[in-house]
Amino acid sequence: MPGPPRCTVTMTVNGRRVEGSVPPRKLLSDFLKEDVGLTGVRVACEHGVCGACTILVDGQTARACLILTVQADEADIRTVESLARDGVLHPVQQAFWDQHALQCGYCTPGMLMTACELLEQNPDPTEDEVRRAIAGNICRCTGYVHIVKAIRAAAAVLRGAAR
């Protein structure tokens, strides 16, 4: 008996070309974890509410648990693993560390990706703008207080670097 059909996909993950052969129903989140071997893609609610699995697809935040792998064929994927360069934390990561913006760490990768997208679009967000930007990322540990502070601190650092 032939097995279920499989599809070949090719995509760029954190700058590296990746090929795979997957069942059509396989979620991108599962592909990135199981086939690509990333540990920075966290899956929690699996129905697009909590934002833990947020990654960048062609430069825009997306929920890896709501995308089929085949839909990401030829896409450029970025995950939290792409942020630190040569052992140096990205300013958003550094600010999260300095401000104690994480506890259990499960929401952190998705939160960081959302924060990075925000700061690319809006280098000087108000507190309210930060809160609106991360409203789709649930954190159960921190009450968001230090996360909001960290994102604004990172914005200041990035503005300084851009000058």
Partner: protein, 791 residues
């Protein structure tokens, strides 16, 4: 010798564990990928109460990729059911089946499990398992379930009461005779849950060649889980190894032995290969652990001046279908009865306490355990009394608090409060909120048709309760101590092995702060490990705000033993007297004589590799110490806090906006104020979620109407304000270092603080709340009901 000047306790040190979380280099259970793994999916009951009449697995077995199926009759014969009995004489016990058979007692209860090549195929196969049920009448409404005459959850009992106890202290009848005013009302808190972002997860890996079962589990209690699994599966504990790797939050929810984990282990033992189970959100919301469903009918005997003379309480807790291990079904009820007198001097107290079985998901500990419900009741009741008597809510609290200079204080419940700063904390909170100024703004807003309100929620929180308290509570396992090993290796570096798991609490930093300071070595020389029963000493785990006090205390004691060894050996090697040496920052020197020095590294190296240089009676093993700590007097150390919520209520929509949220908290001596702030924020946010949004709703036939995050609303960054935190530090006179627990506290007070604030805002409309959550629909309904009544 002098304890050195190396100072880490009390410092705001950023967490040493963070880089792996920030870069995605973590290892949660889902990241464990073992060769040959199959993936499990459960078949769950769609009925709240029914008898299974037939179960067919043939179609599922025929699916390619299915490696094995376990049904309830097989699980029943191969495992000991989970049983957790209270030692109270009034207790009625029950087994929590690994897979239900033949009765199912709540929607979502597991009846079979399938393992297949991947989760997709396992779910396909699970859908092909056919189960036939004969439905029974479900026991759902709490107060009806508590009374005789209705349908029964457990037939043999004759009623639905896990527990029915009465306590009476002081002259209650006299108090009500003398009372100038009596207040009576029922206060309810609703079913909600901790929802750690990572749900339950486990990988069971049985190796038939060694007889070893290795279980990776997202648990808060690795050793207790090992005991529970070994008991259920009939294995010796040394044949079971539990590894809790990085764990994505717990909040009490993951401090249980779950039937599903026993089933997954059994399946691995049957198949001789690893079986992985990652729970989905529906499973978590329907069948993990629920919390907080209480009704408290209270009666307060008062003077007209607002002094409490006596209190009676009828505490009814919906414990769900089964008694959970290792807590029993009594934890919430007992805690609520203990803490319902709040932080107040109550001279006479009487309670009836019932833990009721219903056809709902079992109730278990969630951050605060009974205290949020107890605080909701007493704090709401005091505001109601204040309004009825024309008193100020701040004044009535100050009138009744245990004064700041009255500690240690033995409460009417028998609890010994070690120290607290209730008066100072509330005064600070009131002043920070600008209370008189707020009242003026509120009056002006009301005149303009806007509804602003202020609410206070205050509490004393029992934390780090140890042997004596848990003996009193009648639990079968007394969570009396915890254990930590501190070892110095030949390089002079220190390894701390802790029985307490850290899943957000920051132990890798805070325990290192204690050990580095007590040992006199740099913080960077200390590595903290936990979570693997093969390397950590046996202990209870992380819950009940106990890690800092009990684990920290054990680490403190073990460090002191190793320091004494170190200095004795150095004194021998340096031919100096122990009392003449000082140890700071990894260097031992003769006081006032810096040229006579040895590094800790040199001493450790020589001690391990040149044993001929050790003094008589000391061996290399003395560079390691394992200590347990049971903080005296065993009833816990008490943290206190005052929360203030300032809200605006939109009377057209019922929507509550939090304008300001202030916390003044006192958890004694802080190890790391940065971590304390984080814990306060997080607990408060969960309390706010519980007060305003989160609700597990059952219909009257026991169907869960909130099985996804589309219905079960978690607070986002738009729902939680910029919480302002202020600290007072009143050390415990009893614990090592004066440290108190504080992990749960934030979650306690938002329930009453917000309900008081919304009730204050709507006071002109005659609305006050005795139930939660304060969702827009419910707030609007209350406003409209009042409007209809007054028309």
């Amino acid at each position: 010798m002098t304890v050195g000047a190396t100072k880490y306790i009390g410092e705001r040190i950023r967490r040493r564990e963070d880089p792996r979380f920030l870069t995605g280099r973590t290892r949660y259970v889902d990241d464990i990928r073992l060769p040959g793994t199959v993936h499990a999916a459960f078949v769950r009951s769609p009925h709240a109460h029914a008898v299974i009449t037939a179960l067919h697995t043939e179609r599922a077995s025929a699916v390619p990729g299915v490696a094995g199926i376990l049904t309830s009759p097989e699980a029943v014969s191969a495992t000991r059911p989970i049983r957790c009995d209270s030692t109270f004489p009034e207790w009625k016990g029950t087994e929590f089946p690994v897979l239900a058979w033949p009765r199912v007692r709540f929607v979502g209860e597991a009846v079979a499990v399938v393992a297949a090549a991947d989760r997709y195929e396992a779910e396909d196969a699970a859908e092909l398992i056919e189960v036939e049920y004969a439905p029974l009448e479900a026991v759902i409404a709490l107060e009806r379930a508590a009374e005789p005459g209705g349908p029964l959850v457990h037939d043999a009992w004759g009623d639905n009461l896990f527990l029915d106890r009465r306590v009476s202290r002081g002259d209650v009848a006299g108090a009500f005779t003398r009372a100038e005013f009596v207040w009576e009302r029922s206060y309810r808190t609703h079913r909600h849950t901790g929802f750690p972002l990572e749900g339950r997860a486990c990988v069971a890996d049985f190796n038939p060649a060694t007889g070893m079962l290795t279980v990776y589990s997202a648990t808060q209690i690795p050793h207790l889980l090992r005991t529970g699994l070994a008991d259920s599966l009939g294995l010796a504990e040394h044949d079971v190894r539990v590894i809790a790797p990085d764990v994505g939050g717990g909040f009490g929810i993951k401090a249980h032995l779950f039937p599903e984990e026993v089933a997954v282990c059994l399946l691995s033992m049957r198949l001789g290969r690893p079986v992985k189970w990652i729970e989905d959100t529906c499973e978590h919301l329907a069948a993990c652990i629920h919390a907080r469903e209480h009704v408290h009918r209270v009666k307060l005997a008062m003077t007209r001046g607002g002094r409490i003379l006596g209190l009676t309480a009828d505490v009814i807790v919906d414990a769900g279908a089964y008694s959970v291990w290792p807590w029993t079904a009594t934890m919430d009820a007992g805690m609520a009865a203990n803490m319902i007198v709040g932080p107040y001097r109550v001279p006479a107290f009487e309670a009836r306490v019932r833990a009721v079985a219903t056809n709902k998901c079992p109730l278990g500990p969630y951050r605060g355990v009974g205290r949020p419900s107890a605080a909701f009741t007493i704090e709401r009741a005091l505001d109601d009394v204040a309004r009825a008597l024309g008193l100020d809510p701040v004044d009535i609290r100050l009138e009744n608090y245990v004064p700041d200079d009255a500690y240690p204080y033995t409460a009417i419940t028998g609890l010994i409060y070690d120290s607290a700063s209730l008066v100072k904390s509330l005064e600070r909170a009131r002043d920070t909120a600008g209370y008189p100024q707020f009242r003026r703004e509120q009056a002006a807003a009301r005149a303009a048709g806007r509804y602003l309100g202020i609410g206070f929620g205050t509490y004393l929180e029992q934390t780090a309760h140890a042997t004596n308290e848990f003996v009193k509570r009648g639990v079968p396992i007394v969570f009396g101590y915890d254990t930590v090993s501190v070892s110095m290796d030949p390089s002079g570096k220190v390894t701390v092995d802790s029985s307490l798991h850290s899943h957000g609490q920051g132990h890798e930093t805070t325990f290192a702060q204690i050990v580095a300071e007590r040992l006199g070595v740099p913080l960077g020389d200390v590595r903290v490990r936990f979570g693997d029963t093969q390397s950590a000493p046996y202990g209870m785990g992380t819950f009940a705000s106990r890690s800092a006090v009990l684990g920290g205390g054990a680490a403190w004691k073990a460090s002191d033993v190793v320091r004494r060894t170190l200095v004795k050996v150095a004194a021998h090697m340096m031919e100096a007297a122990v009392d003449d040496l000082e140890l700071n920052d990894g260097v031992i020197q003769v006081k006032g004589s810096p040229q006579h020095r040895m590094t800790v590294r040199d001493v450790a190296r020589l001690a391990h590799h040149r044993p001929e240089r050790l003094p008589e009676g000391i061996l290399p093993a003395d560079f390691s110490s394992t200590q347990s700590y049971d903080a005296p007097p065993g009833y816990g150390t008490f943290t206190n806090s005052a929360h203030v919520a300032i809200v605006e209520v939109d009377v057209r929509t019922g929507f509550v906006t939090i304008l300001r949220y202030i916390v003044v908290e006192d958890c004694g001596r802080m190890i790391n104020p940065l971590v304390v702030d984080g814990q306060v924020h997080g607990g408060t946010a969960q309390g706010i979620g519980g007060a305003l949004l989160e609700h597990l709703v059952y219909d009257d036939r026991g169907q869960l109407l909130s099985p996804t995050l589309m219905e079960y609303l978690l607070p986002s960054a738009l729902d939680i304000p910029a919480i302002e935190v202020h600290h007072l530090e009143t050390p415990s006179p009893f614990t090592l270092g004066g440290i108190k627990g504080m992990g749960e506290g934030g979650a306690i007070a938002p329930l009453p603080a917000l309900a008081n604030a919304v009730s204050d805002a709507l006071a002109p409309l005659g609305v006050s709340f005795d139930a939660l959550p304060l969702s827009p629909a419910r707030v609007l309904e209350a406003i409209q009901a009042r409007g209809a009544a007054s028309r």
